[in-house]
Symmetry: C2
Subunit: 253 residues, 2 copies
């Protein structure tokens, strides 16, 4: 059994606590939380600490805190030469204090407080400074997920940017769809099957193959009608830029 | 049994042929196809015609052709006072020739040749000029789908614009994600669980509730790092505009 301690009590920490706790291959030794309340319902309160000096021996310390707190938290750890990893998509491995052996354990998923996720399908992106530490992380990763990848800091940066496009920006387009429905007394529910199918399609087609619509087929009449229909300047700007981008793509082929 | 004939042989026509043919509530009388080859594998070849004068009596004639051909095809029909509908998201009801009773039977979904869709979950948007015709369309709609809506021409226009945002534009963002992966030797598969989860989330959260990411939390450091990372000017422009749009949203609240 691999001994793991989690430092942090936010969204990612909470999901990891649940995933590790129910896992026979892992012993969740402790959770460090400045605010015990956040995790009190998830874990044995006797093993929640808010005092770094109380941290016990573990094989891996997982720092799951906000990006800008990672360096500080890693410097506050009272021990040396242990394996310490963070869970961030954007922060480089070497942001961690080098008093300890460093690594990254980045679950590539969007975690919401109110929505349970199935870790089995979540890609875990691993990075370590040596092969032995990588193997330790690999063991933990494989115990909770079927999709474990070795990803360098540079690749992780690319992945995070790509994730912003396919998650944050996509969700924002859902929101614009919702707003257009609201403004026209249409239930947003009517768009949900299309949203699902759009996501399902790329399981079997490449996005290039799956592309349809007026921009793709250069249907200038429809494109102009749509732009005239939209009254929100911001929506018009997004419509224009993305239409142009789809059309330019066609030319590249 | 409602007698239906389909005029057209493209993507939508092909999916409707399959849905209607396997449906005990519907008798698919004929298919009109200029090019019989497109539908020869889907339907009894004796009942495929390319001659308008051969069209037999049906309760509904479904014109499933490209938007700009709808008016012409509806004018070419050799009969009058029959129920004739089109399947377009963008074309108004009155684009149909008024020699016949007019209606709209618009399945709101993205149809790809190579991907079978489940009609049960596809919203069908109906419009008719009188209640009796509406009920005929409603019967057909309900026989293939669990989500039938009465939608005016103006609402349908809004819906189509919204669909461009949540389908065409979303898919284009998937493509950009794919391109970023390719450029950094990352498998696009690594993003697919995130894409699925992003779509799944809005089944239980509103898009506003589901929004996460650097733009949402005004993380200017990450936003700037991402923009520096991107080398494609078009990707940078899209990143900037969508980030700004998410940030302005926050202010509106």
């Amino acid at each position: 059994m691999t001994k793991v301690s989690i430092i942090g009590s936010g969204n990612v920490a909470q999901h990891l606590i649940q995933a590790f706790q129910s896992n026979p291959a892992i012993e969740l030794v402790q959770v460090f939380a400045r605010n015990k309340k956040n995790v009190a319902s998830l874990f044995d309160s006797n093993r929640i600490t808010s005092d770094y000096s109380q941290l016990q021996i573990a094989d891996v310390y997982v720092i799951a805190v906000s990006d800008n707190a990672i360096a500080e938290v890693s410097s506050a750890l009272p021990f040396t030469n242990q394996l310490v990893v963070h869970t961030s998509g954007t922060v480089a491995l070497d942001a961690l204090n080098d008093a300890n052996r460093r690594g990254v354990f980045y679950p590539l998923q969007t975690f919401s407080k109110d929505k349970v996720v199935n870790f089995k399908t979540i890609p875990i992106c691993l990075e370590a400074e040596n092969e032995k530490d990588f193997q330790t992380l690999n063991t933990i990763g494989n115990s909770i997920s079927d999709a474990v990848y070795k990803i360098s800091s540079e690749q992780r940066k690319a992945l995070h940017v790509a994730a912003v496009f396919v998650n944050n920006f996509v969700n924002h387009l859902y929101q614009i769809g919702n707003e257009i429905c609201d403004a026209n007394s249409l239930p947003f529910a009517i768009l949900k099957p299309l949203i699902q199918e759009t996501a399902n399609k790329i399981e079997i087609l490449t996005p290039t193959e799956a592309q349809t619509g007026p921009a793709k087929r250069n249907d200038q009449t429809t494109i102009e009608a749509h732009q005239q229909f939209l009254t929100d300047k911001n929506q018009v700007a997004i419509y224009k830029l993305l239409t142009q981008s789809i059309q330019n793509n066609g030319k590249k082929l």
